[in-house]
Symmetry: C2
Subunit: 198 residues, 2 copies
């Protein structure tokens, strides 16, 4: 290739990002090279900085730049409510919603016998200990509405029995702006089962 080995190596690394294939990675690298002063150099520096400073919050599993993340250190978020999510992406989605004011517990996945992910790997014993130690009032299970998510939610609910904490989960139903014609059967069934007085 005329582009030089270093550029080929960069394209190969970029192609490993989700949402970019070999073709779009090539286009992205070409764009970076054209804007190497204004975009490529700052992006490389920002990436190196984050790679060096970022780690997992020792308490909740969120992304943090110190030992403990911003949410765990913020005293205003000690509401006694704990939201259990699968993933940091889900935590970010909850934060975008701006409706939850408590703290989080990030599992980092779901239970999976096939992938050898058990309760230990997801930190569920640590979650139970945390609920006891911090004297929490409510655990909200905000796991994905998939088979794996719901299986994991059931396991956590059982593990938390005996701690006296109140366990809730996100409501299932028609999404805001949703049109019935475009919804899957499962959502319509769930919305009908959970219907409420108008």
């Amino acid at each position: 290739m005329s582009a030089g080995d270093e550029i080929e190596a960069l394209i190969a690394l970029m192609a490993r990002l989700p949402g970019l294939g070999p073709r779009s990675a090539r286009r992205a690298v070409l764009h970076l090279i054209r804007k190497r002063g204004a975009l490529m150099a700052p992006l490389a520096a920002a990436m190196a900085h984050v790679a060096e400073t970022v780690r997992e919050c020792a308490r909740c599993g969120n992304i943090a730049t110190g030992d403990i993340c911003e949410i765990c250190t913020d005293p205003k978020r000690a509401t006694g409510e704990l939201c259990v999510v699968e993933d940091v992406a889900d935590l970010w989605a909850m934060e975008r919603g701006q409706a939850f004011k408590g703290r989080y517990h990030v599992l980092g996945g779901t239970l999976s016998a096939l992938d050898a992910v058990g309760p230990e790997e997801l930190g569920i014993p640590r979650l139970v200990a945390r609920v006891r130690d911090e004297g929490l009032g409510e655990v909200i299970l905000a796991l994905n509405a998939t088979v794996e998510g719901q299986t994991t939610a059931h396991y956590i609910a059982e593990a938390l029995e005996g701690t006296g904490v109140s366990i809730t989960s996100l409501a299932q139903g028609v999404p805001i702006g949703g049109e019935l014609d475009y919804l899957d059967d499962g959502t319509i069934q769930a919305a009908l089962r959970a219907r409420k007085a108008f």
Copy 2:
């Protein structure tokens, strides 16, 4: 945001890449953070290295790590054929085709009165001088089959009149594997005009 200012800054920079929006940039950054040892640190290093070493070939406009690119320094490519392309991406596409063994001239765009891109900006006088100096036998105009590309091709052909070089352009017709039913009218008309004995 819980993600921290450095991470937000990184997401904003990533979102400026072609093919990535704010949402997919967020997903890409999360992926990078998860693989910060195996992917993020090497990617940052590769990007910084390329940003520092890469420049434009002084002779043809291709991307190079020295003053002159690999194609211009390779004596095997002194075939007397010069392929004129709009862009480095087009040069890469030609190289992927592995059919052209000569050298290139990268214009860096097309003539555009609106964007104040004239012959000087595209290096067309430099191209004419190069054709004379290097005693080239053939100039292949491999510009895009768009109005801008073809206007620029006509201008270059006129500018090269008097140098005695033979001027050709890529054939237009049905692409390999193309189905007539899915082709636009212009392509079918061009293919019919350029029909040849079977």
